[in-house]
């Protein structure tokens, strides 16, 4: 059994960590946090130069053609560094949708630009409150144009193009949904920036009024594609979450070693130790579930839907658990703007919702386990 990343993949992780520790220190994250920039453009360019944006994109479309295991190790580092760039929307959602369902021409148009850091993409799925569901999609497509509103759209205000989920039928079935590709710089697209709890990652509302759109994949297959994209993104985002959880644990541990109260390091108190031990437990469970997700993703295994849901749930829980308890270990200082704890807390709780909330994935996991048992 070799249930681990290869030495080459680990080396890539080390490279990504080194690059991000130099190019994306907390100070750089704060530039976006404080609203001085929509995202870190220099970092985005650097990530392209390192080959990280196109690591899983085939060489014929301008990528490195490495694979999803490589993308997983990079995702972990992106999460660890809280990189304030549209990585998850562009790479996990838009690029994955293109690779799954795009025509050769569509792939040729967008994938090389993604790999080169010249195009930002996103998935426009949600229409207000609620979890992913074909019923919730009202935005209408007809005659090659879209009409309706999407929100929240991750990184929508800075995206160049979007994969848009639209209604093309009214039978009440999944086949009513189709996907479209829209150039957001074209006509009939109105973008409004929204405020998110995570100030380092943008959200937007996008209104389409007779906006020109081309089909992505066959008509009526949209929901099936979305489900697959969400599963893939769930694994990749879970690695970001595990990276964030690990960093929050380290921050708490380091503070507990340095901070003296009652004449001793607070890390010598069992009450504090046990908080940190429980953080380690949740981060470890999440990491192991993520490894299984990575295996399923990289081999396109039949187990992917179940593995993705398990990774998503476990990593969401771990990041939320570690981020909130990192603040608790820090005490009052953890509740200041100056300390970085809140940036992880914000990211953890925003990431917990982006692909559908915890309860959505819990429900999905049990459905998928039952299907497997019935089979």
């Amino acid at each position: 059994m070799n249930f681990d990343f290869s030495d080459e993949q680990k080396q890539m992780r080390d490279e990504a960590r080194k690059f991000l520790s130099e190019q994306c220190p907390p100070k750089a994250v704060r530039t976006v946090l404080d609203g001085k920039a929509a995202y870190d453009k220099a970092l985005w360019k650097g990530l392209a130069e390192m080959g990280f944006l196109g690591v899983a994109i085939p060489e014929q479309f301008g990528g490195a053609g490495a694979g999803h295991l490589e993308l997983c190790v990079i995702a972990e580092e992106m999460g660890r560094a809280l990189a304030p760039v549209p990585f998850s929307s562009t790479v996990y959602l838009a690029a994955e949708a293109l690779m799954l369902a795009g025509s050769d021409a569509q792939k040729q148009t967008w994938l090389p630009k993604i790999a080169a850091g010249e195009a930002i993409g996103t998935l426009a799925l949600f229409e207000g409150k609620g979890n992913p569901s074909p019923k919730a999609i009202k935005l209408a497509a007809s005659g090659g144009t879209l009409n309706g509103t999407k929100k929240p759209v991750p990184d929508g205000a800075i995206a160049d193009f979007a994969v848009v989920a639209a209604r093309t039928g009214s039978t009440g079935r999944d086949a009513d949904i189709s996907l479209f590709l829209v150039d957001l710089k074209g006509g009939g697209v109105e973008v409004k920036e929204l405020t998110s709890i995570d100030l380092t990652r943008g959200q937007a509302e996008i209104t389409f009024t007779n906006a020109k759109a081309e089909p992505l994949g066959a008509t009526g297959e949209g929901w099936g594609i979305i489900t697959q994209v969400l599963d893939r993104a769930a694994v990749l985002l879970a690695f970001e979450q595990v990276g964030g959880a690990d960093r929050a644990l380290e921050m708490g541990r380091d503070y507990a070693l340095d901070r003296i109260a009652f004449g001793r390091p607070i890390g010598s108190f069992q009450a504090v130790k046990h908080i940190l031990a429980d953080m380690y437990v949740s981060a470890t469970l999440a990491r192991s579930n993520c490894y299984y997700g990575a295996w399923a993703l990289s081999t396109n295994a039949a187990e992917l839907p179940e593995a993705a849901a398990a990774a998503r749930i476990s990593a969401t829980q771990a990041f939320q658990h570690c981020a909130k308890n990192n603040i608790q270990v820090h005490g009052g200082m953890g509740f200041t703007w100056e300390f970085d704890c809140h940036m992880y807390y914000r990211r953890a709780n925003a990431t917990a919702l982006g692909l559908g909330s915890l309860s959505y994935w819990e429900d999905a996991l049990i459905d998928r386990m039952r299907k497997k048992n019935a089979a």
């Binding site: 059994m1 070799n2 249930f3 681990d4 990343f5 290869s6 295991l69 644990l249 541990r253 507990a256 070693l257 001793r264 390091p265 890390g267 010598s268 069992q270 504090v272 130790k273 046990h274 940190l276 031990a277 429980d278 380690y280 437990v281 470890t284 469970l285 999440a286 192991s288 579930n289 490894y291 299984y292 990575a294 295996w295 990289s298 849901a309 398990a310 749930i313 476990s314 829980q317 309860s359 994935w361 819990e362 429900d363 996991l365 049990i366 386990m369 039952r370 048992n373």
Partner: protein, 414 residues
Amino acid sequence: MNFDDTPQEAAFRAEARKWVEANAPKEYEAELSKSSLGRIRLERAEIVDVGKAWQKKKAEAGWACLHWPKEYGGRGATPIERVIWQQEEGIYGKLTQPFQIGEGMCGPTVMAYGSEEHKRRYLPKLASGEEIWCQLFSEPAGGSDVAGLRTRAEKQGDNWIINGQKIWTSGAHYSDYGLLITRTDPNVPKHKGLTMFFLDMKSKGVEVRPIKQANGMQEFNEVYFTDVVIPDSQRLGAVGDGWNVSLTTLMNERMSIGARLATGFPEMFEFCSNLMTDDGLAIDDPAVRSKLANWAVKASGLKYTSYRAISSLSKGERPGPENSIGKLVAGTMLQDIATYAMDLEGAAGALAGAAEEVANGQFQQMLLTAPSMRIAGGTDEILRNIIAERVLGLPGDIRVDKDVPFNKIPTKGR
């Protein structure tokens, strides 16, 4: 990343599988296949007798304690081969329960500190199950604080005279030998006055009394020592070095990788999949699904954590500290799952008879047994301390009794 064996591992697995297939006591397959929490019981035979027969057969073919050197009864197998063997032994591994303390703790301690003569005399018989060993560490006054133990050993010529009491001794009533830690010097701080021995459990003055547990069962014992004589030749390690010797024992306890920990999840998933409530199947209830999903990812997280450790062994590396989370996660899960399963049964959940139509009372037994899972082999709190100190590198607690002679440490709270 893959789950495949290397060619050597595959060959070893095939050999093990073939042997198990040809030799396992199939007449117990059905009973052993049923889930079990805690001690195994067989309907028509004593687990110790059946276990001894299986262990002997294994030893003759070189499958007992296979990671031990050949001269001491093993086959010199690698750590990954041991894991593969455990996987292939499967449910029949449950029959080895009476030997696990000997194999996991007593044997390695004798191997590290015993004389060559001792090793050749005792280890092969321990490996083959012919002689069973128990571990005599815990005391009424020293549980988590093992070094607080009070059983005295006093030197008299070439012998030591033992007086005192041990508790929570699994298998003492059927054991032939015991690993015993004693206090030989009460005038020095507690960790410094300890000495390790092994003794014949049939020695004069050894009295084993079963403990009736909170769940109504009797699986552990108290062991009383009254002027028991142990020759100095049965001392393991130097006089006063017993604490370090005991660390070897306990470290080996925690090394066992891939040991299957019962979490209760498979039973719970099946239960909820079949339980009809007034509103339909329990598993269709969103509240139930949420709980199940939370336990599902803990169970899979533990499983894949052990896979990561196995992968390290496969590469000839030492596994990381991840496996230290196992019992901490599983113990609480068992308790929570049992509580919730009974909640779903409503008022009838309080009925504990094995004849109850709902799940044969298995969750009720789980509930009553679960507290011990969070205590035995290191309490949840001790395990959290271990993770915090050894994995995360946090400082040890400030010990107020560290430099105090043992006989000056207070013995009552108020």
